[in-house]
């Protein structure tokens, strides 16, 4: 059931109506039923994967809690819990690896060894990347005794399968999400209004901005050899807009739907293109993946004995300062390699992750030097011009990474970069060559995307300054409120692209 289908609108309507009509103590049961109906509607076969992940994680959590209660000896307790969590991690990440990366592994083995292993037909269960990460995060929290294991298997099943977020996140945390799922909620008109605004805004970003940009982006990336550098630059910029509109739009829709039930999901985007560094960018883009990696990979890795030994050796070799920084740099590179791998089974995603990791690592190493140079040049870090420079610089670096993310492969990405540098003509921006004949492209689409971006920019600017937009709208006079709602409702069919043009949500394929 696509988020944009009429079927889904009816489904959510029925879910919300029933949620507030049934006795409060059954609300979570209602959510569980609808979550499983939603997932099973896609395919009954893939339900197995969800059930497997749920069951293994639930049982592992219970077992660890039991070990905690029964095992008095601390060392033995840690040892036994470690075995349980390791087994569950291997099973679940193993399952994810098999379904997502088998054919990638076969392709590379064939290339490396000259073998002819045949590719497998493997179903890719919807949302597997998201619910695996969410449930493994819970498991590690139980292991570290940050949370108690959930005793009720059905409640736990709801935590894993909650339907608005299962397909494309955000990746929830047990200590923040679970109690909201299980608590009862009263109907609240104000909350419903704010939720609808968020849903409509999400669809605006997806249908008006992302789907309109998609046509140009797909055409140029698919046939880049026929275009000059200017078209490629516009396509990359278009992709930065498309990806943000698509992903953050989807998140807004998902969060808005969750809010209809009184549930607050974690924010996944916070105006990422206002970031002043790549590190800041990853604090604003796909936030829940970043924090998951930070809490479950980066910190454990940085604080591990192996890293401790590496840090000692590095301090000996390079001095205290670099020695202290190097392990963090290495941990960052590993984290971002994993982020790249998470995105998909392709070398281009690994390069994408590596690119980000190397920039962050390099920034970490150069931190002290940057401080010296800024002092030398008397740069006022609070000055708007400096901030503008940082934002522009970060935007440029992020857009370079989109070459890897969007191109068909590594070779294509480098090819496109080469064309960008060697065949860039400023005149292409005004001589009409960007009005591609091969696609149903007219200036109007550029105007629509431009209009959408301006509106998005204004809203983002207000949010960056702490303005709560939805509260500001719902607090206004009824005529102003209605005008905003009518605009958001009718702009979707008026300016949005039809579904075949933009396709589904990009991150729903993970």
């Amino acid at each position: 059931m696509s988020l944009t289908s009429f079927e889904f609108v009816i489904f959510v309507g029925a879910a919300v109506a029933g949620y507030y009509l049934i006795p409060k103590r059954f609300q979570w049961v209602w959510l569980l039923a609808f979550s499983y109906i939603y997932y099973a509607a896609a395919s009954l076969k893939i339900l197995f994967f969800l059930l497997f992940s749920t069951a293994t994680t639930y049982l592992a959590g219970l077992l660890m809690d039991r070990i905690k209660e029964k095992q008095a000896d601390r060392e033995q307790r840690i040892k036994q819990k470690r075995r349980v969590v390791a087994a569950a991690l291997v099973l679940n990440f193993g399952m994810l690896a098999v379904v997502k990366y088998t054919n990638f592994a076969i392709e590379n083995i064939n290339a490396l060894l000259g073998s002819h292993l045949s590719f497998q037909t493997i179903i890719l269960p919807l949302g597997i990347s998201f619910y695996t990460f969410q449930s493994m995060g819970y498991l590690l929290d139980v292991y570290w005794e940050k949370v108690e294991a959930e005793r009720n298997p059905f409640r736990f099943a709801l935590f894993v399968s909650f339907f608005p977020q299962i397909l494309q996140g955000p990746i929830g945390r047990f200590n923040r999400l679970a109690h909201q799922l299980y608590e009862s909620h009263d109907f609240d008109w104000g909350r419903m209004e704010r939720a609808f605004i968020l849903i409509l805004w999400g669809f605006f970003k997806k249908m008006v901005i992302a789907d309109n940009a998609a046509g140009f982006v797909d055409e140029v990336f698919g046939n880049y050899g026929s275009y000059g550098g200017a078209a490629i630059v516009v396509a990359v910029l278009g992709y930065s807009v498309q990806l943000y509109g698509d992903f953050s739009g989807g998140m807004d829709v998902v969060r808005g739907i969750a809010e209809l039930f009184g549930i607050s999901l974690d924010e996944n985007f916070r105006r990422p293109y206002f970031a002043v560094s790549i590190t800041d960018f990853w604090h604003r883009w796909h936030i829940t993946l970043g924090t998951w990696m930070k809490d479950y990979v980066f910190y454990p890795l940085s604080l591990s004995k192996m890293m401790g030994r590496f840090s000692k050796a590095a301090k000996k070799r390079f001095g205290k300062s670099i020695g202290r920084t190097l392990p963090i740099c290495l941990a960052n590179i590993i984290v971002f390699l994993l982020v790249g791998v998470w995105h998909g089974a392709d070398w281009k995603f690994i390069l994408y992750g590596l690119y980000n990791g190397l920039i962050i690592a390099f920034s970490g190493l150069m931190m002290q030097n940057y401080r010296k140079w800024k002092n030398l040049c008397h740069i006022n870090e609070k000055a708007p011009l400096w901030k503008g420079f940082q934002i522009a610089r970060t935007f440029l670096l992020v857009n370079i990474s989109w070459y890897f993310d969007r191109a068909a492969g590594v070779g294509e990405a480098f090819d496109m970069m080469r064309i960008t540098l060697t065949s860039f003509r400023l005149s292409d921006f005004w001589n009409g060559s960007l009005m591609l004949e091969s696609v149903d492209l007219v200036a109007l689409r550029f105007v629509i995307v431009g209009f959408g971006c301006i509106l998005l920019f204004l809203v983002s600017l207000l949010q960056e300054r702490g303005v709560k937009i939805r509260e500001a709208i719902t607090g206004r006079h009824v005529l102003i409120k209605y005008a905003v709602y009518l605009f958001l409702i009718f702009v979707l069919p008026a300016l949005g692209q039809p579904p075949s043009a933009g396709g589904g949500f990009i991150y729903a394929q993970f």
Binding site: F6, F8, V478, P493, L495, G496, P498, P499, S500
Partner: protein, 320 residues
């Protein structure tokens, strides 16, 4: 009291939405042949109903067929009409009057190429009058669509704002209110009131675009399912079901002989299984109409009007 005020505000807001939506529908959605076809099946009584694709739309002139058979028929075919649509159109027609015979024009391409959202996707549904059949059709088809296609019938016409003056003019005419087909005449084609599209002869290069060739491995799950439903429905209502495939240019047959032979084999077996008469004019040795591409507007199989009328005479022989 507060809740009542709130509910009234919501009702008012929804009414405004409906009104705005209605205005957009009036301005942007043009007059269409589907509108006329649906009106006719809901208000007239027919002995024979032709359902199917654009090939049938261009090939079957009910007036000519009726002249030979002595019956009254209507051509419900249109480009983009899948079996699901044919099934519900027939059900809708049967609310008023149960026909004696249904002739399903089978285009093998529609069995292997998925339905996509376009201006005609929801047109039959939008023009049906409210009924349980329409509700059933909604759940069968419209729920799969993007919510904009379902809730905003003008969505697929949003770029055609240049046609607003013409649409407004057309809708004020009596011919529009009377469901006349005459205003739908275009330079290249004319639609009759009985639902036949007469394609005017033209010179120039003929297109091979839009051709979808048969491939049994790509048969869509739902199409045979709806065929089964159609057969069952016809049996329940004691309607004779005949299946036919209109001819394609012999040049096309020759170029893709493998695909067409395979299609014929598949459908001949299927119809035999169901005990249904199958008329495949690509394999039947009949004359009386042009088989070469000179009798068609394209290589895909849309006949020129004159050739279609000859074909209709031949078809009528088999439907006596």
């Amino acid at each position: 009291m507060r809740s009542f005020k709130r509910i009234m505000k919501i009702v008012l807001f929804l009414s405004i939405c409906l009104a705005i939506n209605g205005v957009f529908v009036y301005m942007l959605v043009p007059n269409s042949f589907i509108r006329i076809k649906v009106h006719n099946i809901e208000n007239e009584k027919y002995d024979d109903i032709f359902v199917g694709s654009s090939h049938g739309f261009a090939a079957v002139n009910p007036v000519v067929v009726d002249g030979e058979t002595g019956r009254k028929s209507i051509n419900l075919c249109y480009g983009g009409e899948y079996l699901r649509d044919s099934y519900y159109l027939l059900k809708d027609a049967c609310r008023t009057h149960i026909p004696e015979r249904v002739i399903y024009e089978l285009d093998p391409g529609y069995w292997v190429n998925p339905d996509t959202e376009n201006p005609t996707y929801a047109m039959a549904y939008s023009n049906m009058s409210p009924s349980l059949v329409k509700a059933e059709y909604c759940f069968a088809k419209i729920t799969d669509a993007d919510f904009r296609s379902a809730l905003f019938p003008w969505f697929h016409y949003r770029k055609q704002y240049g046609m607003i003056p013409q649409n407004l003019k057309d809708k004020r005419e009596e011919s529009y209110r009377n469901f006349d087909a005459a205003p739908l005449e275009e330079p290249t084609q004319v639609m009759s009131d009985e639902g036949f599209m007469y394609i005017k002869n033209s010179e120039g290069e003929k297109t091979k675009a839009n051709m979808v060739l048969w491939d049994e491995s790509k048969v869509l799950e739902e199409v045979p399912m709806y065929f089964h439903k159609l057969v069952r429905f016809c049996r329940e209502k004691e309607i004779e079901l005949v299946v036919m495939t209109t001819p394609v240019p012999e040049e096309t047959l020759e170029e893709h002989s493998g695909n067409y032979k395979e299609a014929d084999r598949y459908f001949a077996e299927l119809m035999e299984e169901y005990g249904i008469r199958y008329l495949n004019f690509n394999t039947m040795e009949t004359d009386g109409f042009q088989r070469g591409v000179e009798g068609f507007s394209d290589y895909e199989g849309h006949m020129f009007g004159g050739n279609a009328e000859n074909f209709s005479r031949v078809l009528a022989e088999y439907l006596r």
